[in-house]
Amino acid sequence: MNILAAVGVDNPPLDWHALAPELVLVGLLAVLLLVDAFGGERSRWAMPSLTGIGLLAALIPVATLAYDGVVRSMFDGAYVVDNYALLFKALFLIAGYVVVLLSTNYIAEGDYWEGEYYQLLVASLLGMTVMASARDLISVFLALELLSIPAYMLAAWRKRDLGSEEAGMKYYLMGVFASAILLYGMSLLYGMTGSTLLVDIAGAIEGTEVPALVALAVVLVVVGFAFKVSAVPFHTWAPDTYQGAPTPVTAFLAVGSKAAGFVALMTVVLIAFPTQPRIFEPLIWALAAVTMIVGNLIALRQTNLVRMLAYSGVAQAGYILAPLAVAGVSGASAAMAVEAVSTYLVIYAAMNLGAFAVVIAVARKTGSAEIDSYGGLFSYSPVLAVCMSVFLFSLAGIPPLAGWYGKLTIFLALIEPGTLAGYILAVIVGLASVIALFYYARVAKVMFVDPAPDGDTTPIRVPMSLAAALTITVAVTLVVGVLPQVLARVTGAETFLSIGG
């Protein structure tokens, strides 16, 4: 320290408490690396437990920061820890913990490079937690790469399986393509404004002389994120990647990566572009409408449950995009949109992770994710069948499950500004949900009514960790559905938008 002082180096303005969740994750990554390197074969069983404990430990500073309630801003506002960031950090860490529970048996029994698997998972989660706080272009982009690059490799983790290689390759190519588009848009923004801070960009492009260039930059940035959240017409990678990747990784991509993409999109659009609603509103409106309709229509025709969940995930991305299409009307509509998107992402994470947990459990017996193979599930594993129905009907938005509350906040956000565009989009959300009910209900019908395909009705033995994952996801889906005010207390948008100007 004395040497540094002697040559005139200032200490970086760090708030260690605000960075504690990220520091715990970095420490966890280092511990996993060392245990894997020096522990040998004997230490492999400890990997999932260590990862799980580490992720829960990272939640402690998130809780103390939330209790503290102070908005902490570092580096001239490039890195902000407020309620908005903390909500998503908690979401990513808990979702990551559930993914670890899903992975425990799958990865151990498949002999898939356990140590490295959990290291990459933690690295990706670190990218997500950084993303929740990132408020400038460089941090947003690097957080996006840190959460994506390990995910590309995890998708290809079943090395000897061609489908998994295809999954990784498609995801990688489309992801890199999206990054290039995003970077081009960001470079235009930096070139026009001379700043990478989102707040400064918002001030600089207000009433700018080159509206065409601003429009191009906004469109490129939104399209870049549209790839990440698999919005139509940029969704083509999702079904193949979801089907080919190891199923716990699919759950991670469908929930974690997608939520992080939405967080990035919401942060950039609402902080950097709030003065440009004429550009981003029609674009997001069209993306949301097309995504809901196309995603649901293609999902109707799927015979594989993972592919169906992939297309249903595409359609859900449309619902989540919808509130952002009216977010530029007024401050109140922006606040409603943030609240709706945050609420839906939390609920979506619980119900989608749960659905994948059942898929993993059933595949342990049948080795298949075809919808036909779920026949008679209720007769031999009634608990799994009921859990699956809870998740599917929640995805469809049937009360009293959590999904209906998510849909309700989206409807409220859409009709709040009172514009025609908002009303039309609300109608499309409603119609799309009705279409969706068909394919969700069809799976339920197969599980409850159809006979088991090969007459094999031995019950499925569900391992401890999967049972824990199911318990957590069912609990969230039911509690939020019955008592939505629990969630509504933490999804407010005040601090986020006040920092956004």
């Binding site: 200032d10 990459l120 690097l142 840190l146 690059i149």
Partner: protein, 178 residues
């Protein structure tokens, strides 16, 4: 008037520039005329090292170090690995494909013309203006880079290091034979 005339320009710098420039040009010509692919890659090292020397002469020491680390350290090594992995034998028999000489020449001349045109206005002056400020006003560039990297962009910097670690781990798993 000789280029090496003593006016306001430092003599020692000009002599060093002349030596390095001649070396770079000779290596550049050998690079495109040599028959052996591996030799071409090694001549490229000489060219890139010479350019790094020129950066040091211009007091851009950070750019020089990055030039050595990135171009010589990473990109040439990548070339050599690419050659070794795609060709069965490295020997005198390996010759370079010359079919693309004419378009390559056109592109090279066009690039040279473009760069010469854009730098023409500064010919003969001792300082370059960057964004309205002269290089003297901009001060010590390495110190500024360090300050920006470890103060303003500390978190992105750390994120990149974790990213590289994760990429390395995953690449080893995916690439190794088991």
């Amino acid at each position: 008037m000789s280029i090496l005339a003593v006016t306001e320009v430092l003599v020692a710098q000009n002599i060093a520039f002349a030596i390095i420039a001649v070396g770079v040009v000779v290596a550049g010509v050998r690079l495109v005329t040599t028959e052996n692919v591996v030799h071409a890659a090694l001549w490229l090292v000489v060219v890139l090292a010479g350019i790094a020397g020129l950066y040091i002469l211009l007091a851009a020491e950070f750019t020089a170090i990055v030039q050595v680390l990135v171009y010589i350290g990473a990109i040439v090594v990548l070339f050599l690995f690419g050659i070794m992995l795609t060709r069965a034998r490295l020997g005198e028999g390996e010759t370079v494909n010359k079919k693309m000489r004419a378009p390559a020449l056109v592109i090279a001349v066009a690039m040279f013309a473009l760069m010469a045109y854009s730098l023409w206005g500064y010919f003969g002056s001792t300082e370059l203006e960057v964004m309205g400020r002269s290089t003297a006003e901009l001060g010590q560039t390495t110190a500024q880079v360090a300050d920006t990297l470890f103060l303003t962009y500390l978190i992105p910097f750390e994120v990149v290091s974790v990213l590289l670690l994760a990429a390395l781990t995953g690449a080893i798993v995916l690439a190794r034979r088991d």
